[in-house]
């Protein structure tokens, strides 16, 4: 029996472990499938991490090291090269590695911190051939930053997610020519600062409302045909343009990796593809918590750390059997606000609700409603799907509340 098992040793897993330790839990084990701690930050050698949290611009590995150092100082045990194969609803974990073989652990509490994966080409149904030279942006990042190889020299990028933007700059710095970044939507899903620093600074065109309609090439990519799309995101005939290139990078979305959550029978949200959680980041299975990109995709690692600390401290409280007065206040949204995390409140305490919107809106009012009564409102100049928003509710604002609804009103 282990008090707390954390699945994943990336930024979420490490922050959660440190927070649980600081809340008094000592019997902790982190299981990490890679050969090092740090998760995806290991390959994010660009800077811009930690501005919110540490007030300085760190690279991915530097940010990760801040937490890895703590894990090592506190002597929190971790197993590397260890893949978790199964989690049962009663918290039995089956895992494998070279040293221990296939083994099982009964945990009192579990924190899910497996991160996310990139949406692959298959999900897009792009017509044409299937040559070498098509990679997700993160895979290309791994080849360039971790292995020291160039996956291509003439590049088109489909999707303007942050990794795609970062890779547009990275490939350019390595001497490749990035011909265009095509984005299906009329706006980018990436951070505004990345569009400025990764595309505009290098004169890389961002083609909004464009997609790749065909891939050419028998053995290696020889080009792509792009086209403009209409409001229904369908290609407009006559707008096709052939761009010769040897590489197509995809940055078309991230998907929380919840296969293990499913095996543990954790309820998932169809919108976030992550678990449905309460303010403590506890899932529908008591004692199983989730944080980081496995819960919902974040823009900034700073917020991952913050969320993981909540999960770590809450798991500690759960292990100690500290449970507050139980309430159940569901948080609904109007669809314009796509989702919130948490989705339900089970205790009356101060809570920051994170949310994303479905489209770009200017001059809006965010309203938190209890029936017809406005509990809280906040104005924003601009909201966009690529930037996570938050709103903080005070404990006293939750008095007498049965259910809450978040609405967005364009002013």
């Amino acid at each position: 029996m282990t008090d707390l098992v954390i699945i994943g040793g990336g930024p979420a897993g490490m922050s959660a472990a440190v927070a649980a330790y600081e809340a008094g839990i000592r019997d902790i084990l982190i299981l990490e499938r890679d050969s090092a701690l740090g998760g995806i930050l290991q390959q994010c050698i660009h800077n811009g991490f930690g501005l919110h949290r540490f007030g300085e611009e760190l690279t991915g590995p530097e940010y990760a090291w801040k937490y890895e150092k703590k894990v090592r100082e506190l002597e929190i045990p971790f197993k590397l090269d260890t893949m978790v194969l199964d989690i049962t609803p009663d918290k039995v974990i089956t895992a494998t590695n070279s040293e221990d073989g296939i083994f099982q652990i009964q945990a009192k509490a579990i924190i899910l911190a497996m991160g996310c994966r990139e949406r692959a080409k298959g999900a897009l149904n792009i017509a044409g051939s299937r040559p070498a030279g098509i990679y997700s942006a993160g895979t290309a990042q791994k080849y360039v930053n971790m292995k020291g190889y160039m996956p291509g020299k003439n590049v088109v990028i489909l999707g303007s997610g942050d990794i795609g933007l970062i890779m547009a700059r990275r490939m350019t710095l390595e001497g490749a020519k990035v011909h265009a970044v095509c984005e299906l939507m009329p706006y980018s899903g990436g951070l505004a600062r990345n569009i400025e620093q990764c595309l505009n600074d290098f004169d890389i065109p961002l083609k909004l409302s464009h997609t790749v309609v065909k891939i050419h090439g028998k053995e290696r990519v020889s080009g792509v045909t792009i086209a403009q799309v209409d409001a229904g995101r369908k290609p407009i005939a006559g707008t096709e343009e052939f761009i010769p290139c040897d590489t197509l990078l995809l940055s078309v979305g991230l998907i929380p990796e919840n296969e293990l959550s499913k095996s543990a029978e954790v309820e998932l949200s169809p919108i976030t593809s992550g678990a449905v959680v309460d303010q403590d980041r506890q899932t529908s299975v008591p004692g199983i918590f989730a944080c980081g990109n496995v819960l919902h995709v974040h823009d900034l690692v700073d917020f991952v750390s913050q969320e993981a600390e909540i999960a770590g401290a809450s798991a500690a409280a759960y292990i100690r059997g500290e449970q507050g007065e139980a309430v159940s206040i569901p948080l609904e949204t109007d669809g314009i606000i796509r989702y919130t995390v948490p989705q339900i409140l089970t205790a009356k305490k101060d809570v920051t609700v994170y949310f994303r919107v479905a489209d770009v809106y200017k001059n809006v009012k965010i309203k938190v409603l209890d029936g017809g009564r406005e509990v809280l409102t906040k104005k924003r100049q601009k909201v966009a799907p690529g930037e996570m928003e938050s709103i903080t509710l005070k404990q006293e604002q939750l008095e007498g509340v049965k259910r809450l609804r978040l609405e967005l009103e364009v002013l």
Partner: protein
Amino acid sequence: MYDVAIIGAGVVGGMIARKLSAYQLKICILEKEHDVAMGATKANSAIVHAGFDAKEGSLKAKLNVQGSVMMEQVAKELGVKYKNNGSLVIGFDDADRQTLAELYTRGKSNGVKDLQLLGAEEVHKLEPALSSKVVCALYAPTGAIICPYELTVAAIGNAMDNGAELKCDFEVTDIQKTDEGYQLVSGKETVSARYVINCAGLYTDRIASMIGDDSFSVHPRRGEYLLMDRECGTLVSHTVFRTPSKMGKGILVSPTVDGNLLLGPTSVDMEDKEDKETTAEGFAHIIREANENVDGIPMGKTITSFCGLRAVGSTGDFIITAPETGFIHVAGIESPGLSASPAISEYVADMLKEQGLSLKENPDYNPNRKSAYAFREASLEEKNRMIKENPAYGRVVCRCETVTEGEILDAIRTNPKAKDLDGVKRRTRAQMGRCQGGFCGPYITELLAKEMGIPYEGVTKFGGESMINVGVTKEGK
């Protein structure tokens, strides 16, 4: 000098090679691509057809029914997954009902066992996910599913373990007749053989013309598919066909032996034998018809799409003929070629015997091959014993399909050896899951480079110019 040279390492060539490796013969398989199973074999519906489709009295009908009966045993010997899930041909109206009755009669006459015509209630009970518009069906309990490239890799691996040789990247460009047999030329290399079996798929007509035989032609017919996540693999348990019409057999919905859901194929006659491009129209067609057949297919769970080219012969039937003593064509092997392949191999062996080739049993012949899935199918204790012996089995490389380093190394070291990323994929399923190699691709590249003793950037997706990396970074230099 080989006794037999087989041109083409698809399922037909592979099964023939395996059959012949049971005899004391020197065999060589010649393949123009970098790996085996690269043509129609790697992109088809993966079905062992019961045998009610082909016309009575045709070679297709005879070899399909025979092959379908043999397949389970072959799969068992080769350690290949095989599932007798049964096939349903669904009908939507009276015209379909009529056609299904004809298929039933044809199937009976072809010798297909246990066929049944079902009414609406029965078919919905058997397959609840079918569209409510389905009113009748033909049920073929002997229908089954298999993985065609797994079967081919295993058959060729088994043939090689029994002494056959495999030459990849060997494209036969010229054939010279000699006193003792034939010389097969590919660039500067020449292979001599007493007997030649032409299993070159789409190119069987080109090979035939090299010996002056223009009696048949083969043209490509495009078939596009969508493959869905393993989450969807239990949506239907049977292979669901539509009632064939003038427009063809239509789009099927089937589970695969690996637990995915397969939708397709389209059917478009082509001219270019290399054009394996998928099309937007094809995708739309598949999605529309699949949704007519079965309710609730989650199209968002598509993990990949692909296109295969059927080798359609000019006679309408399989063309298994000997234009001269010493040369056998096995051409026009479109559907049900996979199902028929075990029977085709026996048929061809008999033809060779008639032509005077002496078939003496190979005393060392072992029909069995260790399953590529031996580790994943082992018990927990057995797995732990294997990990202790070889720690690489404890290291999971492909997260989506849970494939270990040990299994990938086995694929790189076992006949026929995987030499590229796609070869590893077809042998182990690593990179075949929902992330499509996003996470494990770079690591498998490293394993291939190390095992083959080639530079990292020399690793390809499928041979030729299909390089994964095209250079090194500034720091890498």
